[in-house]
Amino acid sequence: MASLQQARFDYTMVETLAATLVLATCLSSAVVAETKKEYRYTVGPNANISVDTQYGAISVKPGSDNEVVVSATLKSDDVEVDQQQNGNRIGIASHLLRGTDQPTGQVDYELLVPPDATINLRSSSGPLSVEHLRGDLTLEGADAVVNVRNVENGHVHVWTMRGPVTLTDVRNGHIEINSISGDVHLKSVTGTLVQATSSRGKIFYDGDFGSAGDYKFTTHSGDIEALVPADVSAGFRAHSLLGRVQHDFPLQPKHSRFSEEVGRSFVGTSGQAASEVVLRSFSGKIRLKQR
């Protein structure tokens, strides 16, 4: 009986050891497959930097004024990094080898760039994040979560398919965001043009609409909500063809060629109406709320 128990114990031990060995082998091969690479480029003012990867995160932060540092983490040997510098223009692209898909084709990038650089990022999976820059930004990602923070004086163009877009503390920009079903969150975002379109996603704005800017938010079925301070200075026009429209704001009547339809639209101004705000939806709800 005791020998039978001993045999069972030995068998379990062997089984456990084998499993551990297999696991360790898998883990070690995964670790070995992941490689890190670093590229450095010397650039002048207003450098143009593009990063294009099928899968993976791209993060961009400010670094020194005349150097671009790119750190790439490749998840496997099935993907390569192509890089090229032509004067002030730098192009980085992930190059998937045949048959590679996510996650083996993933490359994560971290960039340190001059603050005045123009940045173009593209990743299907994302996330894409940019902060503390003042050059033009173009970010494109199908499913990518997009985060832009503390950016000023530049054009910010964002395209996503499903990925949510969040802009925080973006000042004096020319901003165009377009998503098919991703939500768009804008917090403390101002500029001469701030335009957000999402067919099915929601658009949420929290800020004061700056001064002398055009703000245009459009959805098909997504809701639009704007949260503004009591002293906001803007002219508002909101219209939803099939959805409800409401505001809790003491708007002054405004002459407009657009007819007002109770519950479906409103037109009015607050303060000096320094900015123009247009909120349009086909069937989504529109709400203008006082903070």
Partner: protein, 268 residues
């Protein structure tokens, strides 16, 4: 002749190749190469469809210039050196397709004109007013009750509008047994999902080949934008004078063009 030669010569061949021996060589290669055969049939289909578009539906030259600039920037086309047969003539050489690199496939470039076509179609639909319906809707205004201009959005409930504009047969049948609210709902969201168009099927086929993991996502989003277009189109049909609705329809077409453009960018 190689596949690269075929890609390079394709625009000239479609316009009528000047050299018949060259054309024969071209056709021989196309017959023996499945990839080139697919490419040529795709391009011929698009070319013939494009010719059927009326001049009023044509996008502005700026649209084409922008597409050409983007294709040039992507390295998909380049300005060719002048060939001997064009030397001394006023015929400007057309941009040529850049030969394929090992990691870039070429047969998805048709998505660019399709995307532009979608925008053009949207523009056409938005700008094209069905005159008899507008006239019928404006009739009460001219009888003295309202002085609203023709372009003022009509403050008409969808149910009333639905009653005043002829609807497609399935919708008419649905209305017979439905309440006004149901009518609006059924008209806005058709219960039966229409079959995808040839372009959409081809689009999804290319996505399946190049980015299989993204196929479901693109298909889902394509269905969504198509549903938005149908929904808005149904509203515009009932409210042909509503310029805001027309703008939403244009927006919906642009969203579809965006989807195509993103796929084009992604699957290079």
């Amino acid at each position: 002749m190689t596949c690269s030669d075929v890609q390079r010569a394709l625009p000239e061949i479609l316009e009528g190749a000047p050299d018949s021996a060259f054309a024969t060589e071209f056709e021989t290669h196309v017959k023996s190469c499945a990839d080139c055969s697919d490419l040529v049939s795709d391009v011929r289909l698009i070319t013939s469809d494009a010719r059927q578009l009326a001049a009023s539906e044509e996008p502005s030259p700026r649209v084409w210039l922008r597409i050409a600039a983007e294709l040039r920037a992507e390295g998909l086309i380049s300005d060719p050196a002048i060939r001997p047969e064009f030397a001394g003539t006023s015929a400007a050489p057309r941009p040529i397709l850049v030969p394929d690199s090992p990691r870039r496939r070429w047969s998805a470039w048709w998505l660019a004109p399709v995307a532009a076509g979608l925008v053009a179609a949207g523009s056409y639909v938005v700008s094209h007013k069905p005159a008899p319906q507008v006239a019928r809707q404006q009739a009460p205004a001219t009888s003295g009750t309202s002085s609203a201009p023709a372009t003022t959005p009509v403050a008409e409930t969808p149910a009333v509008a639905a009653a005043s504009v002829p609807a497609p047969a399935p919708q008419r049948m649905a209305r017979k047994s439905a309440s006004p609210t149901d009518v609006v709902g059924s008209a806005v969201r058709p219960a039966v999902e229409p079959a995808p168009s040839a372009e959409d099927q081809q689009f999804l086929s290319v996505v399946s080949t190049r980015a299989p993991s993204m196929r479901a996502a693109y298909e889902n989003q394509l269905q969504a934008v198509n549903a938005d277009i149908r929904e808005t189109q149904a509203y515009v049909n009932r409210n042909p004078g509503d310029m805001d609705a027309r703008q939403h329809l244009m927006d919906a077409y642009q969203q579809k063009a965006l989807l195509y453009q993103m796929a084009l960018d992604r699957i290079q």
